[in-house]
């Protein structure tokens, strides 16, 4: 795992390489082992390396006769691709996946992307054609941004790199920031910053000096879909086990030790179980636990550790830890977030590094591909309701929806809950599917933003905007498939894989790997009948049924609970505003930064202090993280910390004057 930068501009080889090198220190956390740079007239590429495969020879930028490559990530099927390329007469100098990726692109051109199975972002310069191809893995696991400026274009793994190009480059895009607030992600190639674009997952894009091509999809979720109604549930279970096993096996390819994260849920239990079975030398396991028992899952983590015999390391996190580390973590989020839950994962990756582990497997994305989210239950409930289910049935399901939220479990309040969901009966089959609820709840942000921005929310036009982003074939998908597509375009890349995933792990130079995001598995699961994934209201049905004999039953049968960390309690210790609220949400700074309406912020803080944290709702808890993280990011943009080039790390400096 690594960091990459690139510059496409009219300049000499030497000057462009120098400019690239000035940016490398800002990606040191992504790649602390070795740095490299390349300069030729009009193009500069830079790389910071976290050595995982072929540590001795895999230095980058990697140069072949045709091309130069900087690449962040892993293509797990590189051994198979290398054999294939050898059969065409190619020879290889290293054992690295980087060289295979490069030669595949040399040989197949952009067709190569469809052959890769992995997580990556790359910049590939074709020397003869004088064109730069940029590409990103199917689901957007690894980040890639670019900033077109005049005829020049800057590329980087992280947005903060652009803060070191002279005057300020990152300016908030009001509309995109609001979209991000509604969806937990921006749409298409947009970011929360004007002018800065993000290459979408499953896309590549070709740039030539002075010319920026359109991004081209090489993969769309559900592209191989045709409903599988023929195989029995027994066969489906067998196939799930096989596909997951193969995915984990590929993701254990590494020349350095691999560890695993255990959340206490079934997803990471399954990935770590399979990893342990495939390679008995594995492993060290890592978990977050909480001082607050309502958030803590260590009881389940312990069950799994005991059953599999891991060398386990756990980090206990308190509300105070959240407050103390929030600023540092938020600098890595690079976008506002609604939860503090990334912070413990930032601390956990620190613990992973202390234990000499660079790579961890996690259970991310099982909820997307096997319908684990409660939105699936909500959508099923709304469907039943619309079809005329009895009041008793509706109430019964409602009470089971969110057992971790006190008021939802209270049958006294069922009338209010019904009233709430009733409002979505007319929306849930629209373009937003299960996101309707999220969007509706989050529109409160419109009132929090600077009033001069004149942000207004209109549900119908927002639905139209999102509807236009759905792929053509989605017309043949049922509601839950459409919902999965939306989740995999919003929450997954916009939060789980980025602010809570890549950035929190890479913040301490740790690479996460996600067996549930192997595209062979994802596409297969997409075609599974709905009843196999959600049986009645039992989510991830097939996963539980496939592994119930090998995982402690308490884990298989426990109610699902989202991974969360203390929010308001961290920022309002003993009910009064704490240090961060004081520092980042005071009237002066709110007015100065101009992101939010200072009266509304004051009102919000007043409400929490007056009525107490225990009277605050889910939405208040989300709001505090959003407000604080946005303000902290703005402060970071205004005060970029300058860093010097570490010459000792420059392992590879290449200049080509042609």
């Amino acid at each position: 795992m690594c960091g990459i930068v690139g510059i496409l501009k009219t300049a000499s080889a030497g000057s462009i390489r120098n400019e690239v090198e000035t940016l490398l220190p800002y990606l040191d956390h992504r790649g602390p082992d070795a740095w490299g740079s390349y300069g030729a007239p009009g193009i500069g590429l830079g790389h910071t390396r976290l050595s995982i495969i072929d540590p001795g020879l895999g230095h980058q930028p990697m140069v072949s006769d045709d091309s130069v490559l900087v690449y962040n990530g892993e293509v797990y099927n590189y051994l198979e691709l290398r054999d294939l390329l050898r059969s065409y007469g190619m020879t290889f100098r290293t054992d690295s996946d980087t060289e295979v990726v490069q030669r595949a692109l040399d040989f197949w051109g952009t067709e190569a992307f469809r052959k890769f199975n992995g997580q990556f972002a790359l910049l590939y310069w074709h020397k003869k054609k004088k064109e730069l191809i940029i590409g990103r893995d199917r689901y957007g696991i690894r980040p890639l941004y670019y900033l077109p400026e005049g005829g020049d274009v800057y590329f980087a793994s992280e947005l903060q790199v652009f803060d070191h190009l002279g005057e300020r480059k990152r300016f908030w895009s009001e509309e995109d920031l609001f979209d991000h607030g509604l969806l937990w992600n921006t749409t298409g190639d947009r970011t929360v910053f004007k002018n800065i674009r993000s290459l979408e997952g499953g896309h590549f894009q070709v740039f030539r000096p002075g010319h920026c091509g359109d991004s081209v999809p090489y993969y769309v979720l559900g592209e191989t879909y045709s409903e599988d109604n023929t195989s029995s549930f027994e066969i489906q279970k067998e196939m799930l086990r096989e596909k997951l096993n193969e995915s984990v096996r590929l993701r254990l390819r590494s020349d350095v030790p691999v560890g695993c994260y255990l959340s206490g849920g079934i997803d990471s239990s399954v990935t770590s179980l399979l990893a342990r079975e495939i390679n008995n030398n594995i492993f060290k396991s890592f978990s977050v636990s909480f001082a607050d028992p309502s958030l803590d899952e260590s009881e389940y983590q312990k069950l799994l550790v005991d059953s599999l015999g891991f060398d386990h390391h756990s980090l206990k996190v308190s509300a105070q830890d959240i407050e103390e580390n929030f600023v540092e973590a938020a600098r890595h989020f690079e976008r506002p977030v609604f939860r503090t839950a990334p912070v413990p994962l930032y601390l956990l990756s620190g613990l992973v590094r202390q234990n000499d582990v660079k790579v961890v497997l996690t259970g991310e994305a099982a909820d997307e591909i096997l319908f684990g989210y409660d939105t699936n239950k909500e959508l099923k409930l709304l469907s039943l309701w619309k079809e005329g289910a009895t009041d008793d049935k509706v109430e019964n399901v409602l009470l089971q929806l969110y057992p971790h939220l006190d008021h939802y479990a209270d049958s006294q309040q069922i009338g209010f809950l019904k009233m709430y969901y009733e409002g979505f009966l007319k929306r849930f089959e629209g373009p937003l599917a299960g996101l309707s609820m999220r969007v509706s709840n989050n529109q409160v942000l419109a009132n929090m933003f600077n009033r001069d921005w004149n942000i207004k929310f209109d549900f119908d036009s927002f639905e139209e905007k999102i509807g236009a982003l759905l792929p053509r074939q989605s017309g043949n998908w049922n509601l839950l498939r459409k919902n999965q597509y939306l989740e995999m375009k919003t929450l997954l890349p916009g939060y789980l894989l980025s602010a809570q995933g890549d950035r929190m792990a890479m913040g301490h130079s740790v690479e996460g790997r996600f067996p549930f995001l192997d595209h062979n598995l994802v596409e297969w699961a997409f075609a599974l009948p709905e009843a196999s994934k959600i049986g009645g209201f039992n989510t991830k049905h097939i996963l539980k049924e496939s592994f119930k004999e090998r995982i402690p039953s308490a884990i298989v049968n426990r109610p699902k609970r989202p991974y969360m960390a203390p929010d308001l309690t961290a920022f309002f210790p003993s009910g009064r505003k704490g240090r961060l609220v004081e520092e980042f949400l005071n009237n002066g700074i709110v007015k100065d930064y101009g992101l939010f309406d200072s009266r509304m912020i004051e009102r919000f803080i007043g409400k929490i202090e007056r009525r107490g944290i225990e009277s605050a709702g889910y939405r208040d808890n989300m709001l505090i993280s959003f407000l604080l993280s946005a303000q902290i990011i703005e402060q970071g943009i205004r005060n970029p910390q300058r860093k010097k080039i570490d010459k000792d790390k420059m392992a590879n400096r290449i200049l080509e004057e042609v």
Binding site: G415, L417, K418, M419, G423, S440, N441, N442, G617, Y618
Partner: protein, 83 residues
Amino acid sequence: MSDRDKLMDFICRNFMVEEGEFLLDESLIDQGIIDSFGLLEISTFLKKELGVETAQEDMNRENFGSFEKILAYSSRKREAVYG
């Protein structure tokens, strides 16, 4: 302060809106001002500040479907209790 003013003040102070920025005869949920927890907050307010206890069978859009409906509901309930 009239009940109307008290309710308006409560909604503005707790749900970060201004008077005149939302419709009084449309659902506060549909307008994105509150979520389901917000309904609970309002019923707690009715109980504490206006002395109106919300009966389970009254938790519906008829009584809570807009600012005006909540106001009408609370005055109906008070009349029923205090005559």
